[in-house]
Structures are given as C-alpha cells and as structure tokens.
Amino acid sequence: MRAFTNLYFELDRTNKTKSKLRILRDYFLSVSDEDAAWALFFLMGQRLKRLVKTSDLKRWASDSCGFPDWMIADCYDHVGDLAETLALLVKAKTKVSHLESKVEAGLSDFVSSALLPLRGLGSEVQGERIQSLWNRMDCAMGFVLNKLITGGFRVGVSKTLVIKALAEIAEVDPAVMAHQLMGNWEPSGANYRALLSGDASKQETGKPYPFCLAYPLEIKKEERLDLLLGAASDWQIEPKWDGIRAQMIHREQECILWSRGEQLLNEQIPELASVVLESEGAFVLDGEVLAWDFESDVVRSFSDLQMRLGRKKVTAEIQESVPIIFMAYDLLEEGGVDVRSLSTFERRKRLERLFASLESPLFRLSPTLELVGGWDAIAAERLKSREKRVEGLMLKHGESAYGVGRKKGTWWKWKVEPYTVDAVLVYAQQGHGRRAGVFSDYTFSIWKGDTLVPFCKAYSGLSDVEMKSVDRWIRSNTVSRHGPVRVVQPDLVFEIAFESVQESSRHKSGIAVRFPRIHRWRKDKPAKDADTLDSVRALL
C-alpha cells in the first residue's frame, strides 16, 4: 500500500505530463504483476462495487474522531471530498505519522485480504475492520484507502496517459495498447503479463475501438472557412446528434453495444442487439444512440434518452414509450477486418453498402450533407440545427483515417451558438475538488415580475482570478446562510450560456436549461436590467 499511496500522491503533485509518465512507468516496473494489474484497474477508473455504504463510512469516522455529524458535514463542505475529509479528521485524532504507518501488504494482497472480504459482512464488523486499518495508517494512506472503498478513485492522469506508459513498457504503439484495454479490465497477474506480451488482443472479441473524437471548431466572424479548412468538397458534413456516442460490435454471433464512457448498453437497450443478431456479416459501427419519435420521425430530447437509460429495469412499457434507435455514421470493422485506416470517404461508401442489407427501423444511416453551394451553404445549414434538433454539424476530412482519441484537424464539431441570458447571482456554495474551499457553485435568478426566481445553477466559466474575486465578494455580501448555502445580495449579473430550454415541473421557474455555464461577468449591468422569465420562455 505504501508504493501505491506514493504513486497517488506523486501523480497528484505534478502537472507535467512528462513527469506523470515517468512516475507511472517507474511504478509499473517496480511492483509485482499482481500489484500492477490492480493499480491499472483503479487508474482506468474501475471501481470495487458495493463494498461499504458511504453513510456507514461516515458513521465509523465519526466514532473514530469523536465529532458529531454536523461537524463532519461542515468539514466536508469545506474540503469538497469525502474520502479526504474523513482521512483528515481521523488523523487529527490518531496522529499516526508517516513513519508509524504500518501496512506492509502490496496493493493486490491488500485488496484481496482486506477489502474484498468486506463485501457481504455486517456493517458492525466492517466498521471494526476499517477503523483498525485507519488506526494503522497515516493521513495519506487513509485517504487512498477511503478512495478505494468509496469507489471514487480518480487521480490526475487520463486513461490515455496510463495507456501510453504501458505502451512504452510493452514497446508497442499506444493505439494497440488502447485497443487491448478497451472494456473491462480483469485485474490479475496473468492478464497483466498477457497485456504486456501482446496476447490480450486475441482473447476477447467484444472489445470496442478507441473512439475518434472531434475538436470544437471556433471561428471568428472575420475568418473564412475556405482559408481555414480548404475546399468544402474535401469534407464530409454530417449533423451532430445529441445522444449517446456508442459502438455497435457484431462479431461471431455476438452483439455488444458500448458507450463512449465504456458502459455496456446491451441490458438497457436489448432491442438493438436482437436486430443485429439477425443480420448477415460482421461489423463494428460508430454512431449515436438516440431516443426517437417515430410518429413525426424526428429525434427526441436528450433528457428523454436519459430517462430511458436511467431506468434500472427495462420494461416493455418504457421500451414502447421511449423507443431507441442507433444512428450510424462510421464503419470501423467489416467482415472481421479493421478498416479504420481507410479514408473517411471510402468508409462511408462501405457503410452505405452495408446499410443496404441492414434493414430495420431501429438502425439508421446518418445523412451527409449535399455540398452544392460550398461553405456558405454549410454555414447556412448549421443555423438550421435547432429546428432539426441537432447540436450543429460534424466536419470530417474525407481523406483522413479514423483516428485514436482527439486529433486536431481531421474531425471538427461545429456547434450552434448557445443561447445566452443575463441572470443575477443569488446563492453560492463552496465547490468540490479543484474548487474546494472557494465559493464557486452558483445559483442564478431571473426576473418574474418584480421577484427573482432561481433558474439555473452553474459551476464553470469564470477564470481563477474572477472566481477568487467573486468568492471574496460573496464572503462580504452574505445576507443569510442555510447550511452550506449562502444567500447573497442580488447585485452581480452574469451572462449565462446554455444549449436548450425545456418545460420542467421540478424547477421553481417552470423551465430547465441544458449545460448552463457562465459566459462572462456583466460588471456593466445592474441587477434590475437582468433578463426576465418571459424572455427565456420565448425560447421554448
């Protein structure tokens, strides 16, 4: 556990990619295959599910440190991270120092002897075991333990970086390593050795390819698209759908649907797999899972889709009330052959050919835009995105291969401009994670007659300097407090950007907006000139 704790804090300490890579490499090379396998498990964001209840954990910590619930809640509001709060509180009591910390087991042994057996034990026994671990750990190790058992293990390294470190160790291309690591990683020494020797790729047939990601296209008014991107005819233009990105894998009588977040979607959307299994041939499609309105033949809102996917149990009823389709736009594998290195135009041709034989209302081929009229026509099409219920356009270079991860210059997403509204800051709360200890989570209101009604929350969009100065302002302009929430003088006005607006009975204002974020601080505007609910409702 010491080596793994050190790994965590060394990674946490540095912002430099080069150093992180070195730290990861050093760690993997210095520990046993079993420890490396488990470290990889956690670094890839996988978690030990349902080990202990968070409410139990808080109670055990409260017993250990002798502070009541309200104090733990106050500290948590300030720290913004439960695992860290509890570790700090317990340490303040036990005073175990770095040198006195005695947990010799390696990560793998620790997980299998101390953590996994917790599953299924009564909460009292679990509590005794965790508390006795805490008593033998310093603050840093206790924190890592808490992270592991609460399942919120995140450290400042991306999967891409972990993959790169392993690729360097195995001396293979990162893309090869990325492919081997798609899907769930079963942590064992044997699997780790197979991963490094390159045998893992043959083992599993259900793994998806890394998704090719698009860069946002941001162009200023005076910039010309032809100068920026070349001839329009070099590009394939598609709508940018507002659903869940997914890969449909059909190999050897198997059909697997993976989301971009590497979530298996088969259970939630059983109807797609059954269609695929009836079809001929083998393929891997890249596309978007969408909720669909068959009556008017248009896409339904993202929140409808979320409602469907959020259900634990997929009933016939929900399948009927929120039907799902797969909107395909790329072909990655055809007849068992990886075709990602072919050009976009060529892959599209093959995709269209495939679709001629894949007949089902649940599978659709995403349309490409006819290019008569060049960039001007494309720009005009983008402006119609909202009526077509899409987020904007996708621009894919016709001669480019299907890339791994986010590469600049081959795929662009060109979203429509967001809506904006000037709203008044009314409540503030301290943030979590990077924004811990700073009032950075805000609630904004707009006018309904002469009262302000809360209309959205937003966390992001201010620079660090602005955030600090708003934080300071909040501290000296607090009118009242409700737990962690400060009610402030309704004086500051911010321009809030958002993607769409919907009726909502759950919100006081009667509307809900999607992806609200702060565009800028309108220091020039007094609160009385902020926007009204009527003006926002007009966007419905």
Partner: protein, 345 residues
C-alpha cells in the same frame, strides 16, 4: 451578557471599546486605532492615531505610512485610555503581533487578533492571558486543520530543496511576504544553496534582523541577480508572483506553497503546484480550544474564518457563551497580495 456586549462591540468601522473610545484593528478611518499586528487586513492606513506593540511598531509603520502617528507600548506594560486599562501581550503570529487586553471595572476582555501556539523562531511566543471574554480568530477553525511540529515541516522543505538542487531546478517557495516568509527563512538550511527573496519579502526582513531574529543571508532575486538562481537556489516570494514574468526569468523551477491551506488537496491542485507544505501562522482547531480553555473565558467572540462551526462547538460541547463577530478581516483584499486575500496564513 450586557457587559460583554458593551466593553468591546462591533461597529461599522471595526471592533470598538465605547468606554475607552478606541477601535481595535478598524477597517475604516477612525481617531484612535489599537493595532494587533502588521498584516494589511488588521493595520490599515488613514487612522488619526495608532497604538501598537513596541516590537511590532516598525512593521506597522511600513504598512500604514511614514507620516502616520504611531505610538508603541512594550509587552506587558499598562496604559489608561479614558479610564480603561489596556496592555499588549505576544500573540505568536509574527514579529510584534499582539493580543490586546482591555480591563474596565473589573471585567477583562482579550482581543486575540491573529495568533498561534506553535513554536516560531521568528517571533515572541504566545502568552496565555486570563480573561472573562476572549475574542478569537477562526481562520482554520475546523478539526481537519491540525498542524505538525514546524521542525518536521522545515525538514520536508529542506529535503525538497535539496532534491531540486540535485535535479538542477530552481526551488520557488510561495509564502506570505510578512511573517510566513521570515518564519520559513529561519527554518531553511543555508548549507544547501543560495537563498533569494522577492522585494516584498525583503522589505520586512530588515526589521526582523534589527530585532535580532536569525534570518539567514539572502540575495534580492531580480534581473541583476538572476544568474545566481537559474537552475539552483531557493527563492521565497509572495504567491501573487506565480506565473509572473519576474518569476519566469529564473528558468526551470519546482514551485511550492507554504500555507495552512495546503492541508486540503483542492487548494494545492487549484494553484497548479508541485508541492504544498502545511505550515500556518494561524492557530489550528486544537490550538483554539486550548487557548480558550487557558484564558478561562466564559464569553467567546469569534471573528474571521469558520466561525459557524466553532461557535456551535463552543456552545454545545464546551458550554461557553459563544457568538460570531462579523468582522471584515480577510474579506477585503490585502494590498500587496491581492490574489491571496484568503491566504493570509
């Protein structure tokens, strides 16, 4: 309760003693200001007259201006102001920092200002002053804040510096320019390499040297001396210099912040630091409880910081009559270190 509210109360300008007609650390211009210490949220300019501890006087003068009318009172000496007896006692926060004891008609109130109980080679040690009413700060008044002995922190700092020296990196240690910087300087091991300071730190160093505190030999880090710090040495600078062109001239660096806030990972990460060292010039949770107990005070007023939690704890667990005093310390940006309004530790 009535006496506690009347001997020292809160006014728009700051903490006020009506019987003596003077203010303590006021934030708006007043006639007579008693000042606990030289941090800019406590010692503000434009007061008609100041009274502070003799040993803190040069620093307060540095802060409020050459021409200001300032008088000094030795620690422990008493003075009558309009029939109210006042005296200054060491607060252990920084050189000359004081608690102010105010006695009137047998009732004693001690205004703690900013204070700490930990050992500090760069200032007078905190003195426990018995009283009926104690006014305490609450900058770090949450039990997650629990300081390690300063020697072990200095050991880590020196260790980090030594490693950077070997790796050919300049060590940059961000510290509040007054108090923290000098405390850290007294803990550095000069045998590791050269010690540089930013001008804002240098201004205060001379007062510490004049008072006989063991500040090691330093070089003012600037364009003229930058070669001495490229890839080597340590530079102590205020946090506001992070990302500044001034700092960039020293080349490849390892950057660390030394502050009580570094306890929390989020504040380390937010600043994009290589390291965070936990060392504060404010009192931690246990320290506050110890100080409150030591004074024997029945009434406890809580100023700037995490007052809510402390007030509730003092009431429910310690059986004190505790209440929040909504002062403006820390809420207003401090002049020299604007960005770190909150990090005056």
């Amino acid at each position: 309760m009535s006496r506690t509210q009347t001997l020292v109360c809160l006014r728009e300008e700051g903490l006020y003693c009506p019987a003596g007609d003077f203010f303590i650390d006021p934030w708006k211009p007043v006639q007579k200001a008693l000042v606990t210490h030289g941090h800019s949220d406590h010692a503000r300019p434009y007061m008609d007259a100041y009274l502070t501890s003799s040993s803190g006087l040069p620093i307060v003068r540095e802060r409020v201006g050459r021409s200001a009318h300032i008088e000094g009172l030795d620690f422990g000496q008493t003075l009558k102001i309009n029939g109210v007896q006042v005296s200054f006692h060491p607060a252990g926060h920084l050189l000359g920092s004081s608690q102010i004891r105010i006695e009137h008609k047998g009732f004693v109130c001690v205004v703690g200002g900013d204070y700490k109980l930990e050992e500090d080679r760069s200032c007078e040690a905190f003195e426990c002053v018995p009283c009926d009413q104690f006014i305490t700060e609450s900058t770090f008044a949450l039990p997650i804040y629990s300081w390690e002995p300063s020697d072990s922190v200095f050991q880590s700092i020196n260790e980090w510096w030594r490693q950077n020296e070997e790796a050919g990196l300049t060590s940059v240690l961000f510290a509040y320019a007054l108090g923290k910087a000098q405390r850290v300087l007294c803990g550095l091991d000069p045998s590791i390499g050269r010690i540089g300071v930013h001008g804002a730190v240098d201004i205060f160093n001379k007062h510490y040297l004049a008072a006989g505190y063991p500040i090691p030999e330093t070089v003012r880090a600037s364009r003229n001396t930058k070669e001495q710090f490229q890839g080597k040495g340590i530079i102590i600078a205020p946090g506001s210099t992070q990302n500044s062109p001034w700092l960039k001239q020293f080349g490849e660096r390892s950057e660390a912040f030394v502050s009580g806030w570094m306890t929390v990972r989020g504040s380390r990460r937010r600043r994009g630091l290589d390291r965070g060292f936990v060392l504060s010039d404010h009192v931690d949770w246990k320290g506050i409880l110890k100080a409150v107990e030591g004074t024997g005070a029945e009434f406890v007023g809580v100023t700037h910081g995490y007052a809510d939690a402390l007030v509730r704890w003092l009431k429910e667990t310690e059986g004190k009559t505790a209440y929040e005093l909504n002062t403006l310390y820390h809420a207003i940006a401090s002049g020299e270190d604007e960005e770190n309004g909150k990090e005056l530790s």
